[in-house]
Assembly symmetry: none
Homo-oligomer: 214 residues x 2
DNA sequence: GCTATTCTAAGACAC
DNA sequence: GCTATTAGAGGGAAC
C-alpha cells in the first residue's frame, strides 16, 4: 500500500489510454524526467530516479545504514526488516565481507514513514521522543551509580567489621575501625559514568574522594 | 553446583562407607525420612520429598508458575529458563492444551536463589526493588498521561483551526473559535490511568473536565 | 491467577 | 560511523 502511494507519486507521468505509446510507458526520473534511471533502485527501493538527481537532492535520496535509520529516526528492528514497509538494498559489509550485509535505506522513505501517523507523527514529535529518552538514560545512569556506591559502602563496611571481628592483626588492615584518627583505608574505586571520574570511599570513616583516571 | 548444594542438604542421610547397605542407600524423604518419595520431583526438581510432607509445608514445597516466580521474586526469563539454576516441571497449559506448557517451580528453590547473593541478597532487598519499580511505573504512567493529554490538545486545536479556516459551517462544528461565549466542544476523552477517570478538553477554549465512566 | 512477543538499550561478535 | 544477539521490563494477545 505504501508502495502503491510511492509509485503514484513516482512519475510526473500517467500511462496513455491505450498504453501503446512506448515514449509514455517508459519509466522516467521522478525529478527530471530523464529515461536514464537507476533500475537497481527502481527494483529494490521502488524509486524512479537518475544518478544526477540523487546527487542533487541528498536530503531526499541519500542512503542510510540500518543502524543510522534506527538511531536517527528511532525505528525498530521489525519495522526495518519488513521490505514492504521500508524497502532496502543489501551491500557487502564494508568492515569485513564475511560479516552480515549492510542494509541501506532511502532517506525520504524513512522520513515519510517516521513522520507519518503510523510512527511519530511529525519531526517535532520525534524530537520530543529523543529528549525523553535522553532524560531517561541519564536518570538511570545516575540511579545505577548511586546504588553501586551505596552497595560498595555496605560491602566495605561489612568487610572491615568482619576483619576486626576475626581478630586479623597482620598486614596493614588490622583493627581499622578502633579509633578516630587513622590513615584512610580506601575501598575499591567505582566509576561515575557522568564525569568519568572514579570514587573511592574509606572503609573506616566513609570519607569519599573523587579522582580522574587516565 | 546449586544442585550439588541442594543434594547435600537434601537427605538427613549419608551413604555407608562401603555403600552396600540397601536400607541406607535408598532415597528417603528429606523431611520425614519415608521411602515413599515422589520420584518425578526427584528427577525433575532434584528434591526428595513425600506427598504428605509437600502438603504439610506449603511454604517450602508449593509450586509456582513461571509468571508467579517472575512477578513475586522478580526473576528474569534467562534465569527461569536455565534448568540447572532453577529446575522446573512442565505441565500442559490449563487454559488451552495447544498453548505453551505451564512451567512449575519449587518455592523453596526459587526463594533460595532469589534471596541469595547471586540475586537480591535478602527478602528486604527484594522489597526495596519492588517499591523502586512501583515508583518507576507510576512515574512513567504519569508522564505518558501528560504527553497524551498535551498531544490531544494540540490535535484538537489544529482540527478546530482547520475547520474554521476551511469555512465549514454545516452541522454543529461551524465557527467554533470565533467568540468568547460558546457551548463547549468536547474533544475525544483520554483516560487517566491513576484514577480511572477520563479527561476531555474543549476544542475551543481548552477547558478540561474529568469524569468517571462506568 | 499462562506464556511469548515486543521494545529499548548496550556491549560483543562477526572473521 | 556495521549488525545480530542479549538482557530487562511491560502491556497485550493466543501457537
Amino acid at each position: 500500500m505504501l508502495r502503491r502511494m510511492r509509485d503514484q507519486k513516482a512519475g510526473p507521468f500517467e500511462p496513455g489510454i491505450n498504453g501503446l505509446d512506448s515514449r509514455e510507458t517508459q519509466k522516467r526520473c521522478r525529478e527530471c524526467g530523464t529515461l536514464e534511471i537507476d533500475f537497481k533502485w527502481l527494483e529494490a527501493l521502488g524509486c524512479q530516479i537518475c544518478q544526477t538527481c540523487k546527487d542533487k537532492f541528498p536530503d531526499k535520496y541519500s542512503l542510510l545504514t540500518k543502524t543510522e535509520a534506527k538511531e536517527d529516526y528511532l525505528l525498530t528492528d521489525p519495522e526495518l526488516k519488513d521490505p514492504n514497509l521500508l524497502p532496502h538494498l543489501k551491500k557487502p559489509n564494508p568492515h569485513k565481507s564475511t560479516w552480515n550485509d549492510m542494509m541501506l535505506y532511502l532517506r525520504f522513505q524513512v522520513e515519510e514513514y517516521a513522520f507519518s501517523d503510523k510512527k511519530w507523527g511529525s519531526p517535532e514529535a520525534l524530537d520530543e521522543e529523543f529528549t525523553k529518552r535522553q532524560n531517561e538514560t541519564k536518570r538511570r545512569r545516575e540511579a545505577k551509580f548511586k546504588s553501586k556506591l551505596a552497595d560498595l559502602k555496605r560491602r566495605t563496611r561489612v568487610d572491615a567489621y568482619k576483619r576486626s571481628k576475626a581478630g586479623v592483626t597482620g598486614g596493614s588492615f588490622g583493627d581499622v575501625i578502633s579509633n578516630g584518627k587513622h590513615e584512610h583505608q580506601w575501598g575499591r574505586a567505582v566509576e561515575n559514568p557522568e564525569t568519568g571520574a572514579t570514587v573511592k570511599s574509606c572503609i573506616e570513616c566513609g570519607m569519599e574522594v573523587e579522582e580522574l583516571e587516565f
